[in-house]
């Protein structure tokens, strides 16, 4: 019996040659920055500066600058933290898990997605530090450092400590993984560099990469090992973040469903954020041939899946609250849906459960405008999910005498803006100085001839129709 695979649609369109790839990607690094880029960086730095004032006041005057109170000890701080960490899931998921699953379409998006991961984790890491009453001490007291204070040691029972390990491990591994991937591309830029500065800098960054078969072999091996290391981390980080809540006694927090629910939510929001950024990068850098509608559709499908997992989790929580017969649990969920914060709950429900279902419609999931809008809606929804979990659970827990409301101040907003500014400043710097697409990998999925391949029209489908079956276009 003879089996013939369907001819896959080329992952890179426009008949790009290897040289085209190099030129398309390196051009952005080599050319003078555009006015748009300057404006974008200025805006990000503006946000960073405005936000820094809020950070400064928080550090100078105390956490009292925020809207927290005796009942609600965490609100925007941890909401933002979990939100950013969630966003930071997509990059590694794309690079590591999709690598292991041999999803080659990831190749043109993984670089930017990984960068996004790293910047999102940096933004996230701001909050565990800033939310502390005494960050100047907490920044290192939370580490199990041998010390001369006596028998002082960290409390390994505390999920916050697990967070410290989870986040720092995740950050380190993601950073290394990302950097390893960058080395061949840095070398390419180095080799093309005209100026002495860029040759030196990129030369240093490329760690003496010489492109020999041996280096490539090592490169592949390291990438695979790191992918293997990253894969459990993708799942563990948000699992551990969810333990902050799941191991507590607070109704609405004390839930065993949290780990899978948080991981699904993280991938959900991460993909949405990747989409948001990719759609902009694609447009501005004219990378439509690399990041195709096909990519967008694939990612939208992941959004439908994870969005539905999240939706099921919400409904399961409601069911469990009813089924548990625990008065406090029941009240917590009734209060979420009908209490003073009903609007937050229904925003979350609409954005996270209903809006991704629109992607069932092919027209929507292949529309760039619709995808862009929905990706932002999903991230709004995911922000509210964390707000709902944190604030509406805390604001009415066991003793009604302590029930309170949370009112954010401009400093809550400011610190959030600070991390947004930080994220985008990093991202725009990355977009200018680093190759936004993994050239080395992408080159492996295009025709390796010096001629231009025939241009294949974008059809928006993932596979070609049956009659177009032909010998597989191999990667050469």
């Amino acid at each position: 019996m003879e089996v013939t695979s369907a001819v896959r649609k080329p992952l890179v369109t426009g008949g790009k040659t290897v040289h085209d790839v190099t030129v398309d990607v390196c051009r952005r690094v080599e050319e003078k920055p555009t006015i748009t880029w300057f404006l974008a960086v200025a805006a990000s730095l503006g946000l960073l500066t405005v936000g820094f004032y809020a950070v400064f006041r928080t550090l100078w005057d105390g956490i009292g600058m925020w809207g927290l109170n005796k009942t609600i000890g965490w609100a925007w701080d941890i909401t933002n933290f979990v939100w950013w960490v969630g966003i930071g899931h997509a990059g590694t998921l794309i690079s590591a898990i999709l690598l292991l699953f041999r999803q080659r379409w990831r190749m043109s998006i993984n670089r930017a997605a990984e960068a996004m991961t790293i910047f999102a984790v940096i933004s996230a890491a701001m909050f565990p530090v800033l939310h502390m009453g005494r960050p100047w001490l907490g920044a290192y007291w939370n580490l199990p450092l041998p010390n001369t204070f006596g028998s002082l040691w960290v409390n390994f029972n505390s999920p916050l400590l697990w967070d410290v390990f989870a986040i720092s491990t995740y950050f380190t591994v993601s950073l290394v993984f990302w950097y390893i991937g960058l080395i061949p591309d840095f070398a390419t830029i180095r080799d093309r560099a005209q100026g002495i500065i860029s040759r030196t800098v990129y030369g240093a960054l490329s760690f003496g990469w010489n492109g020999s078969a041996r280096t490539w072999e090592r490169y592949e091996a390291v990438a695979l090992i790191l992918a293997g290391l990253c894969t459990p981390l993708v799942l563990s980080v948000h699992t551990i973040v969810s333990f902050d809540f799941a191991t507590s006694v607070i109704p609405g927090w004390h839930t065993t469903i949290f780990p899978p629910y948080f991981v699904a939510g993280a991938i959900f929001s991460g993909f949405a954020m990747v989409l948001t950024l990719m759609l902009i990068t694609r447009k501005v850098y004219k990378l439509e041939d690399y990041i195709t509608i096909n990519h967008i559709e694939m990612m939208n499908i992941i959004i439908i899946v994870t969005g539905s997992v999240v939706g099921v989790a919400y409904i399961t929580e409601l069911f469990m609250a009813w089924y548990s017969g625990v008065e406090y649990e029941q009240y917590a969920f009734l209060n979420r849906a009908t209490g003073p914060y009903w609007w937050a709950y229904w925003t979350m429900m609409t954005c996270n459960v209903i809006s991704p279902q629109l992607f069932w419609i092919k027209k929507i999931r292949t529309s760039i405008v619709a995808t862009f809008i929905l990706s932002i809606i999903v991230n709004i929804g995911m922000w509210f999910e964390r707000f709902v979990i944190i604030v509406t659970s805390l604001h009415r827990d066991y003793l009604p005498s302590s029930w309170a409301m949370f009112q954010p101040t401009i400093y809550d907003l400011g610190v959030y803006i600070f991390t947004i500014g930080l994220f985008f400043t990093f991202f725009f710097m990355f977009a200018k100085f680093f190759p936004v697409i993994n050239m080395a990998e992408v080159k492996s999925i295009i025709k390796a001839t010096s001629e231009k391949a025939p241009v294949v029209q974008e059809t928006g489908t993932t596979t070609l129709p049956e009659e177009e079956m032909a010998p597989t276009a191999s990667k050469n």
């Binding site: 927290l68 000890g73 502390m132 009453g133 005494r134 409390n155 400590l161 006694v249 003793l399 005498s401």
Partner: protein, 1037 residues
């Protein structure tokens, strides 16, 4: 290559190749250096020199970096009885106008830091109130005057004395105005002043007057004095608007008596029954078994009706009483009173002599005189006479008074004609105030001769016939003030102007001689000072109302019919108009201590509002207005009484009688100081006259809701307990009699081997407490919610005050709070709607739940702290290590009781809080801080520690005495302050301790843990609230 033969040499020595040179050739300085020999070993090299130099320079630099030493002044000559870090205790007396409390003052290094009740007192039984607890902070008030003033300018005492004497000696009509004088010796000093200036009269008044009661007793018994009540002996208490647990006359005394009848046990399941007929929900009404809402205009009629109901049964003559309208429970109250003749008590908060006369008649009919109340041994808490004071005002207005002396009183603020008085004060030649601050009256006076604070003063007091107590200074006067009595004696040119000597002399002459068993006056005096109290009848010191030693048993001679006819004129059950009630708050009272931030921040026990007064409106009225309070957000309203009006925020108050509104007195100070100024509005001018006496209500009031938004600072904004039986467990007495576990909610967890108690299932191995296991039992039935413990805790543990805005932000720092829960109509429903459960009943049942750290055995806070800043002690305490805390607040989030408090800001030495948190922001205020307790830094978590510093001190003391710790050695500050003994603190490991016996006894009875079902295993037991009602359906009306 030719080898170079040339040789170069450095010196002749080298050329010569001296043996000396060869020896030193490898040295750096080959020639002989004397330095080496001097330093001994000859091992010093340039390297050593550089080392020394480097060390020297860096040591000098480091030494220069050291922080400068600040104000650490040791005792050059140490006072004999002052040891650093060892507290001294002095028995003394709190007097504020007619308010009295026998106290013990704790001093550290010569400064008073804490007040406790004097348990030897037969008047106050060791009880204290929030006001007494807070008074120690008033001592360190920076707004106190630092010396005498003349025409607004600082002056010396000599100049002031000379000027005052000159002006007083011009003669003419003069007046000395004071509040009630409780001290016989002060009265003597005043009498000397009156004798020296014959035109001078002494007038006493009280901000909240009881002169109607004095008049009624005069009419009924011929004695213008207050009776001594004994609530302890009353099985049935009926009160018409008298807030005897909170603010009426002597609440500390009455509450400790009353609560003794409210402690049912399995062996003796009885308790008194308490009816309250009132308009505004008072602390007393909140603790009543039956609370009936009446309007002030019904009050007299209801009393007369009660008289008739009783008279008709006991054969007395009925009176022509007006129809009181429908007064719920009145008949029931009459029946209960009749069943408890001689063991009942009827009291009224009215200032109308007709009503009070009628009350006397009822008590007389019931045979209560000599049993539950005693007019033969009267009490002297209120002696004021408003009509005399009014006369002073009119004399001043007419220019008839040449001079006036205000002795520690502030009538321009707290007398209802204060405004007139203020305007006319310039008509006098001289107006002297002895106020400790430039208050409303002192500011308009020509001379201010500031008096000492009571903690700096010598004095005595006779709150009740035969009960004396002494006040002694516990600190040298902080400012250049002078005791007012000395001032009076100086102006009177008395031979003895030193009040201490004067006091001793008068005790020698009047009291010592009555003490047969005392040998020597000095011993007697020292003993009296040590005890703080003395039961003795002084020889007639003064010619006051009661100087007769042979006080004969008085009999009721009042004319009931004249009382009734007066009542008919003034009361009826048919007033349709809106009525206003003026009341005092438990914390602020009459406003004397308004500048005390501890009291300002003490939440009102009922409304849980602080830093404001407001107009409380009934829920029904709020529904009509469509006004809903959320998180303290409300609107302002204008209350108009005749020509006067005030604009105040509205507070929707469940339990406020329909058709009435209420406003608290004591607010709206304008010159009390930075803390109190501009807080609330002054309601004294809204008082009116009924039957010729001041009435603290008004029956003709308009309320106009304004559009102005306002936010009241409330520490609790959610009113009901949402039917949560793990929080509040209560039962009726009848149920309790049948089942000691009545009302208990016993949650069981289903498991494979049957239902189990949640505390039997645990992931934890549990802690071992080999030595002590500190626990507390709190009786919800005794707790009256007065808040004395809250202030005591604040004083003991250096808890910051955060001010109105921060309370609005829900960040008050109190470690101990008293949760107040109203019942909801929806609780009776089978499947309650949560939204309706949030709404309190219109006349709710009230439960107070003191809430502090529960010191859980399985503490959820301990497991979540990443840096192990909160850990479990080997004595069962959940301890907080402030300097390890990094402030993640995870512990506070995970605390099911929400008792942890976070330092959102730096509350000490911070401009932002200097106006409110005076105890931590100026050098004077800081003197009140307890040196045994850390002042917490910004960014750390804090909470109740069971007063761990007291535990340690107690253990240390026992260890020093080489004995085991005895129950009662250690009392937490809250337990210590509690006037009703509702808290019992102690060691559960000691089988003989009160607390372990109580818990053993009640384990299968009333004792329960709040939130037992979540398995945190707290170390505080609560006893169910028992209400002495006949049946559940008799919900308050």
């Amino acid at each position: 290559m030719k080898q170079a033969k040339k040789r170069y040499w450095k010196g002749l020595e080298e050329l010569r190749n001296d043996s000396e040179f060869v020896k030193h050739a490898d040295k750096e300085f080959p020639e002989y250096l004397p330095m080496e020999e001097q330093s001994g070993g000859g091992s010093n090299s340039r390297r050593d020199f550089l080392k020394m130099m480097g060390f020297g320079i860096s040591a000098a630099t480091l030494a220069a970096c050291e922080a400068p030493i600040r104000k650490a002044i040791p005792y050059v000559v140490k006072p004999v009885d002052v040891d650093p870090s060892i507290p001294n205790y002095y028995a003394s007396t709190f007097i504020d106008g007619g308010d009295y409390c026998s106290i013990v003052v704790k001093t550290r290094e010569g400064r008073p830091i804490k007040i406790a009740g004097n348990t030897r007192s037969a008047v106050t039984y060791g009880a204290t109130s929030a006001q007494v607890q807070a008074s120690v902070l008033s001592l360190y008030d920076k707004q106190r005057l630092q010396g005498p003033l003349m025409n607004g300018e600082p002056t010396s005492w000599e100049q002031l004395d000379a000027d005052v004497k000159k002006k007083l000696s011009r003669g003419g009509n003069m007046a000395l105005v004071s509040y009630t004088i409780l001290s016989p010796t002060t009265q003597n000093a005043i009498d000397e002043l009156l004798a020296a200036y014959p035109g001078m009269k002494h007038i006493q008044y009280d901000p909240v007057s009881a002169d109607g009661m004095l008049a009624a007793n005069e009419a009924s018994f011929g004695k213008a004095a207050l009776p001594t009540y004994n609530f302890e002996k009353a099985d049935v208490v009926v009160s018409f608007g008298a807030d005897f647990l909170g603010t009426w006359i002597a609440p500390t005394t009455y509450s400790s008596q009353f609560v003794k009848t409210r402690k049912p046990t399995e062996a003796n399941p009885t308790m008194s029954r308490h009816y309250q007929f009132e308009s505004a929900l008072s602390l007393t009404g909140a603790n009543a078994d039956y609370r009936s809402q009446i309007k002030p205009s019904q009050d007299g009629a209801a009393v007369a009706q009660l008289y008739n109901l009783i008279a008709s049964k006991v054969g007395g003559s009925r009176v022509n009483a007006p129809d009181a309208g429908e007064v719920k429970f009145l008949e029931k109250a009459a029946n209960d009173l009749l069943k408890a003749r001689g063991k009942s008590l009827v009291v009224s908060g009215s200032n109308d002599p007709a009503v009070q006369g009628m009350i006397n008649a009822i008590n007389n009919l019931l045979g209560n005189y000599g049993k539950t109340l005693d007019i033969d041994n009267p009490a002297y808490y209120r002696k004021g006479n408003d009509r005399a004071m009014e006369q002073v005002v009119s004399q001043i207005t007419e220019g008839q008074l040449k001079g006036i002396i205000f002795y520690n009183c502030n009538p321009i603020y707290d007398f209802y004609q204060g405004e007139e008085l203020g305007q006319a004060l310039s008509n006098t030649d001289i107006a002297v105030s002895t106020s400790d601050r430039l208050d409303e009256t002192a500011a308009l006076s020509t001379h201010v001769a500031p008096d000492h604070h009571f903690l700096e003063s010598w004095n005595d007091a006779m709150p009740r016939r035969g009960q004396l107590s002494l006040m002694q200074p516990t600190i040298t006067p902080i400012f250049n003030t002078r005791q007012a009595q000395s001032t009076f004696l100086t102006w009177a040119d008395s031979p003895e102007t030193d009040y201490y000597t004067y006091l001793r002399n008068s005790w020698r002459d009047a009291i010592f001689i009555t003490q047969g068993d005392a040998i020597n006056f000095d011993i007697f005096w020292d003993q009296a000072l040590y005890e703080g109290i003395l039961e003795a009848l002084p020889r007639p010191l003064n010619q006051g109302e009661d100087s007769s030693e042979n006080s004969s048993a008085a009999s009721f001679v009042g004319n009931v019919n004249s009382f009734a006819s007066s009542i008919s004129k003034n009361y009826s059950g048919s007033n349709e108009g809106l009525e206003l009630v003026l009341y005092q708050k438990v914390g602020i009272g009459t406003g004397r201590q308004a500048n005390n931030p501890w009291l300002q921040e003490l939440p009102d026990p009922i409304s849980k509002a602080c830093w404001d007064n407001y107009v409380a409106i009934p829920q029904r009225m709020a529904r009509e207005f469509g006004l809903k309070m959320r998180e303290g957000k409300t609107k302002k309203a204008r209350v108009t009484v005749g020509e006067r009006s005030v604009v105040l925020p509205v507070l929707v108050q469940p339990g406020q009688a329909p058709g009435t509104i209420s406003v608290a007195l004591g607010y709206g100070r304008t010159k009390a100081g930075k803390v109190a100024d501009e807080v609330g509005q002054n309601a004294y001018p809204l008082a009116t006259k009924v039957n010729g006496y001041t009435a603290y209500y008004n029956t003709d009031v308009q309320l106009e809701l304004l559009d102005e938004e306002y936010r009241i600072a409330q520490t609790q904004t959610h009113q009901t307990y949402m039917g949560r039986e793990t929080v509040i467990q209560d039962a009726l007495l009848s149920e309790y009699k049948e089942d000691p576990k009545a009302g208990r909610y016993e949650f069981k967890v289903e498991s494979h081997d049957g239902p189990k108690d949640p505390s039997d299932i645990s992931l934890w191995k549990g802690h071992r407490y080999p030595n002590h296991h500190w626990v507390m039992a709190i009786d919800l039935n005794s707790c009256i919610g007065c808040g004395a413990c809250v202030v005591s805790c604040q004083a003991e543990n250096n808890i910051p005050v955060v001010g109105r805005q921060e309370v609005i932000n829900r960040r008050e720092m109190h470690w101990l709070r008293i949760d107040r829960y109203y019942s909801s109509d929806e609780e009776q429903v089978e499947d309650p709607d949560y939204n309706k459960l949030e709404i309190a009943s219109d006349n709710p049942e009230v439960t107070f739940l003191p809430m502090m750290c529960q010191q859980c055995n399985n503490a959820p806070c301990e497991t979540v702290c990443p840096v192990a800043a909160t850990t479990h002690s080997s004595e069962g305490l959940n301890q907080m290590t402030y300097n390890r805390c990094v402030g993640t607040r995870y512990c506070a989030n995970n605390c099911p009781y929400k008792v942890r408090r976070f330092n959102w800001f730096k509350y000490h030495d911070n401009q932002q809080f200097s106006d409110v948190n005076v105890a931590m922001n100026d050098d004077l205020g800081k003197m009140v801080l307890n040196p045994d307790v850390t002042v917490r830094a910004r960014g750390v978590m804090e909470k109740c520690t069971f007063c761990v510093q007291r535990i340690q001190a107690g253990k240390l003391e026992a260890k020093k005495q080489r004995r085991p710790l005895v129950d009662g050695d250690i009392k937490s500050a809250c337990d210590d302050a509690c006037p009703v003994d509702c808290m019992v603190f102690g060691d559960l490991n000691d089988p003989n301790s009160r607390v372990s016996q109580l818990i053993n006894q009640e384990k299968e009875g009333r004792a329960y843990h709040v939130l037992h079902e979540i398995g945190v295993s707290p170390n505080i037991w609560y006893m169910t609230k028992i209400r002495n009602k006949d049946a559940e359906e008799e919900i308050n009306a």
